[in-house]
Symmetry: C2
Subunit: 386 residues, 2 copies
């Protein structure tokens, strides 16, 4: 790439504001990418996503490989054209999905054999194929194939997976030829600081344009996650972007940025929206609760999203109770706009040199309660959806 | 109402072009109203509906009475404000839903006792209450409470229901006080020409601002429906709008207009859209069929809707196969835009004095096949939805 992939603009304690240069425009960091695994951010058109302020989203090689197939998308002009999105796209290699969704998954040094969660058909994915598929999709940032460990695996098992991840990262680097596409490595090593250190060292020596912190949010408690993030980002070069995969609740975004993370993706904001859980600066609220049934004000009177500008909480509550499809879109719009505005505020606080105060204030006001877990598990009429 | 509710602009053989004057603007006829029974046209925002070209929609008193409750909507400023729709609204009285959805339904001269299809609770609806509720909703056109007969009922039973409908119509007329709201009567009489004649005579003498043709599309074959429509509209005053309830497939719209109908509503275009059946001038196509899986062109290259302007048939097909929620919205947008454009073309053909040629050409090109029935019954992942 002629331009530098990443420019660090400002650092404020550990938090960083920067810019990613991609083949589909400049993207400001810290960055949240809405999840569009199957080439669609659930319930939204690309116009909607752009209108909410996002300039980069995430799609998934595993999902797109199985359906509609990489060849179909390639034939139709690549992923951007296929889904009519002219912003930037990051594709995950599909490694995580192979490990988490496939009913069978057999790993050798050569690659990973897995079964489709859709029809049970057998497939084989190698580092070289992961690159080939992502080159065909034409995404702006692509990821190496890595071996994911489970929380609770012992150090020997974690190390073995990490070593294989390193060998695979080298093969990915060697296989990757497409210009205008940045290939990121994924630091593994589980919850073991020594392994994280070894992984960061190995991968940074290979000089990738970006680094992801992998193997987190796999069931470990948050007291374990945050120090690992902090330790890992400290081991990464400051002139390369750091991407924390699969993290994106409001509180985790604020905490992650404080620990030097530049990029995030997460299905949580859109998934909980479909369950009726809406973000406010005071925490998540469950729109199905009785207090909203007659409320004339928007869910969040301070919010500038289409949903809050247009409808009362009572109307949104009605749509959820009546199981109307519009409910899902309106709630998604609200939650993503909340996240977009939060990322904007985060960046401005860093640029103003006031991130620490911003984060403290946000985290003191934003309540996380047990209710959230209940809300997340509800989603009655969409049960079983991915 | 200070202005005349309906102006007949032009007649072409039996087809009529006109204008409805409502408290929420002028509406051109022939008119199709998208169905928003629960105060939402399924999957669409009011902005979407307006953008598709519609200026009037239908909502349902039965549904809104049960959920969220008439009082809630009234307290929130009426139905227009509640659903953020500044166009015109017609509400059905709920009579048809009481008869078709309630697990129990007991009719006396006083009114109808029914059970909620949601929670089984017992309710009582009278002509006076139907008016009171619709006044509270604040819709622009409201309907009398009528007694609906089933196809196959004998003449005696049909006549009894018709006579009660007439008495109820008079009570509705007497109860209705709200200005700026037009109350339509509903002509009954089943498939019996003599009864239709008696019903039209009785109701036109009461001088309502509009008349619906009720009791059709209740299971009778189309060869029976069309002559009854033609015969009934001929009995109605030419300076009042005629509304054919629950009819709205493309071919039925063309046939209905030819028989002097001015207004239609129907859930079919939006319902079949959610099942993956898309309208084209050649007939409905099932987007899930294999031929669309790799098709680079839009479903209907001649269509100007957002879906066809933006996405390939392959992408839409992918969304349906992947059971993505965006599929439902994109298909709904297409089908409603198709209907909107059809109504525009119909009106222009009438104004040009060429409706007969237009209708013949449309009906000769638009194929109806057995496949349609299959498509309609599919809707796998929305089964059971209303």
């Amino acid at each position: 790439m002629s331009q530098k992939h990443f420019n660090l603009v400002k650092t404020c304690v550990g938090a960083r504001a920067g810019e990613l240069n991609t083949s589909h425009g400049k993207v400001l960091t810290p960055l949240f990418m809405p999840v569009g695994s199957q080439a669609t951010v659930k319930t939204l058109t690309p116009e909607d996503v752009k209108g909410l302020g996002f300039s980069m989203l995430l799609a998934n090689t595993y999902h797109l490989y199985l359906r509609p197939g990489i060849d179909v998308i390639k034939k139709l002009g690549g992923l951007h054209k296929f889904m009519a999105w002219d912003g930037a796209i990051l594709t995950d290699s599909g490694g995580y999905q192979v490990f988490s969704l496939s009913p069978l998954c057999k790993i050798t040094d050569e690659g990973v054999k897995f079964r489709s969660h859709i029809d049970g058909s057998e497939h084989f994915l190698t580092p070289e194929l992961a690159i080939k598929y992502q080159e065909a999709l034409g995404s702006d940032v692509i990821m190496v194939l890595d071996e994911c460990s489970a929380y609770g695996d012992d150090a020997g098992k974690i190390k073995k997976a990490m070593d294989r991840t390193h060998r695979w990262a080298e093969r990915c680097l060697k296989a990757h030829k497409k210009k205008g596409q940045a290939l990121y490595a994924i630091v593994q090593g589980g919850m073991f600081p020594d392994l994280r250190k070894a992984s960061a060292k190995y991968l940074t020596e290979l000089d990738f344009p970006g680094y992801a912190v992998g193997g987190l949010s796999v069931g470990e408690p948050k007291e374990v996650t945050l120090p690992i993030i902090e330790q890992t980002t400290a081991l990464l070069p400051s002139d390369k972007p750091r991407y924390l995969m699969g993290v994106g609740s409001p509180e985790d975004l604020v905490e992650g940025v404080a620990r030097g993370v530049d990029m995030f993706d997460c299905a949580l904001p859109t998934r909980v929206a479909r369950n009726g859980a809406l973000f406010t600066r005071q925490g998540r609220v469950n729109i199905r609760r009785a207090i909203y049934a007659k409320m004339d004000k928007p869910v969040d009177p301070s919010c500038d999203c289409y949903t809050c500008r247009t409808f009362s909480a009572a109307y949104l509550s009605h749509l959820f109770r009546a199981e109307e499809l519009l409910a899902l879109r309106l709630a998604t719009i609200h939650n993503l706009r909340f996240i977009n505005n939060l990322m904007r505020d985060i960046r401005n606080a860093i640029l103003d040199g006031k991130y620490d105060a911003f984060a403290r204030k946000f985290l003191s006001e934003y309540q996380t309660t047990n209710e959230q877990t209940r809300v997340e598990q509800k989603g009655k009429w969409l049960k079983g959806r991915k």
